[in-house]
Structure formats: C-alpha cells, structure tokens
Symmetry: C2
Subunit: 195 residues, 2 copies
DNA sequence: GTCTATAATTTGATAGAC
DNA sequence: GTCTATCAAATTATAGAC
C-alpha cells in the first residue's frame, strides 16, 4: 500500500503529529487540528472518519519516514558503528532539533489506553526499529568484521535503542541536550558495536 | 512538609496513579477515580480541588516513595555497582513487576501540555533521580575505589537512567521483560560503574 | 471537499443539603 | 466528608446542503 499523503490530508497529519508529540493522543481534538490547518472539524472527519484512523495514519506515516531515513541496515559500504551513528543522527534530527519527543515514545506511554489500531501500529514501529538496529549491528561492513550472533545482535539493538530513547526523553523534558549528546558520544563504547 | 496521605485521600491517589500510568493525565476523569474508590466525583474535588492538584500530589507522593526506596546513595557499606543494582531492582519492582510504565515516564511524555505544577514536580523527580545516581556512582564504597569526577558521575548517571528507562519502556510496551532484564545484566559493563 | 448544524456524551468544577 | 444536582464547555461523530 503506497500511502502517500498530499494536500490537506498531509497537513492534517502534520498538525496531529505535532499535537500528539506535545501532549499525547488525548490532548488534541478534531477542532484543534482543524484550526491548525484552517478548516472545520467536520472536514477532518472526511479525511479520517474516526480519531483512531487519524492516529493510526500518523503513526504509520511516521514509521515509514523514520525507517526510510535510516537507509539499509546492511549496506557493506558502512561499518556497524557507522550505521549506529547514523541512527543516532536520525534520532537527533527528528527529536532534539525539533524540541519534541519521538511520536512513538509519547504514544507508547499511553499504549494501554489507546485504540487497538494505534497501539498495534506503535508496536510495529518499535519492532522494525529494533530489527533494523539488530541487522545493522550484526552485518559486517567495510573490512569484514566478524559477525555478531543473532542473540548478541538482539541484545545490542535493545541496548542502543533503549539508551537513545531514554537520553532523548531526558533531554527534551529537562530542556538540556547534553543528556542526549553525552549518550551518543558514549555509544561506541558499548559492547556489541564493531568499528 | 510531611505529606503523608491516609484513608480516602490515599485511595484516590492510588486510583489516579494507576489510571495515569495506563493512559496519561488526560485519560482519566474525576468520575473515573471516584468510581474506583467508591465515592462520587464531587467528593474527589473535596480532597483535591483541581485536577492539577491531584496530579501534583500523585507525582510528589510517587517521587518521595521511589527515592526513599533507594536508600542513601553514599552508604560506605556498598559499592557503586551494588547501589546501581539496587536502583535497577527498584525500577523492576515498581514497573516490570506491575506491568506498568513508570508514572513519571508517562507524564514526562506529555509534559509540554501539562499544568505547570505537574510538569515542575515531574522535572524534580528526574533531577533527584539523576542526582541520586550520580552520587551513587562517585562515592567510594567497600574497599575505597577511586572517586569519579563530578562530570563523569553526571554522565554515568545519565547513561544508567537513560538505559533503565528506555529498556523498561520497551519491556512494558512489547510485553517482553527480556528487554529490561538484558539491559540490567549489561549494566555492570558500562563505563563509570566501579565494582 | 468543505461547510453549518446538531446530536449524544463526557468533562472539570461548583453550590448547597446532610 | 460525602452526597445530589447542576452548569458551562468541550468532545467525537453524523446528516445534509453547497
């Protein structure tokens, strides 16, 4: 499914994403996003009948864009360490530089109370992110470093994603980017990451 | 201020905390918590006039309890590594074992849209947590290991808290505790932590 | 596609009796 | 302290005109 949004639908998704990232799924209304876009709430319902539809679309568009921005996790032109550095840069661009927490981190915190479609889309985001990171760690690059075991790659991905996520959270909440930057600088010192 | 809650007030805080941890600040109403406790919503307003009051009280009670459960961060009877292991155990008890994300992680994600009293209480939680962890890392214990510099302790605390937080988030969201447990097992391998 | 109008429900909060 | 009753506002969502 090539779900590429344009025009008003894309603007609605932009507004909804910004609002969700500021306060969560229950902190915005159809009137809010309608106002942001310059239309009426009934028109938002035309594009996304239910709030759950809107939420799911926001998450899936975000997922596709973020994963795409990472590029292939197994390009032999790059080492695992370079790929992880790229992941960290992608995190920085979409969160730190915007002063807003990752969309899926916000929604993930509310998952138990979210419409199932949204919660499921959310879990897919993190599974894909962990999968990308695991592949990035275990696929040899450059001068063919020894491969990591499947299990080591899994644990390494967990460590990398957890650290980036937690550090991003602290940076945005405490309005102090040194939390994120210090964590990124320390990433190469983690186990599992081959230069 | 010895804000120790008992009776109905404590039950209201319990209910509010559970509801917030499931879906955030905007996902529960006075009627919800009233129903949980077995009273009417007007009675909840008697104990906590505004929703912001209730939110602030929940965060501050949570903060006091969590920090207290950690004990002193500079007890010479323990090594930094032991203190960090204790921190991880406290995290596990209050989140993994309950299947619910940390209260302040949920609210932190919504911080930009929260009443200022609640947002401020939230930031105090994380500052105290980082402070405790920094002290735990830099204070020698047992056989007097060399002290960490102030800056190294700060970065170490950032790394430890970020990792625990991120791993807890993934475990709860994906309903797979191995994320948290693997991260805890890897904690001693981090820099900054002295046996 | 966007609008007006409106339905049905929920929300945070208050007044006042007991 | 808890209740009933109530309010004003906001919410998701729909019907139907243009």
């Amino acid at each position: 499914m090539s779900t590429e949004y344009t025009g008003k639908a894309a603007q609605i998704l932009d507004a909804a994403e910004n609002r969700i990232r500021a306060g969560g799924f229950n902190a915005f209304s159809f009137r809010d996003v309608a106002g942001d876009v310059g239309i009426k709430s009934a028109s938002v319902h035309y594009h996304f009948p239910q709030k759950a539809d809107l939420g799911q679309a926001v998450v899936e568009r975000y997922t596709a864009a973020f994963i795409a921005s990472l590029g292939p996790p197994d390009d032999p032109a790059h080492t695992p360490a370079q790929r992880i550095a790229h992941l960290a840069a992608a995190y920085r661009i979409s969160t730190i530089d915007r002063g807003a927490i990752c969309l899926c981190c916000v929604l993930g915190s509310e998952a138990a109370d979210l419409p199932v479609e949204v919660a499921d889309a959310l879990r897919r985001f993190f599974r894909r992110l962990l999968s990308w990171t695991g592949t990035a760690l275990k696929t040899p690059g450059g001068h063919a470093v020894p491969e990591l075991s499947e299990e080591a790659a899994r644990q390494g991905a967990n460590q990398v994603v957890s650290l980036l996520q937690g550090a991003m959270f602290l940076s945005i909440l405490l309005k102090d980017n040194t939390h994120f930057e210090a964590a990124v600088k320390r990433l190469p010192a983690l186990d599992f990451i081959h230069a």
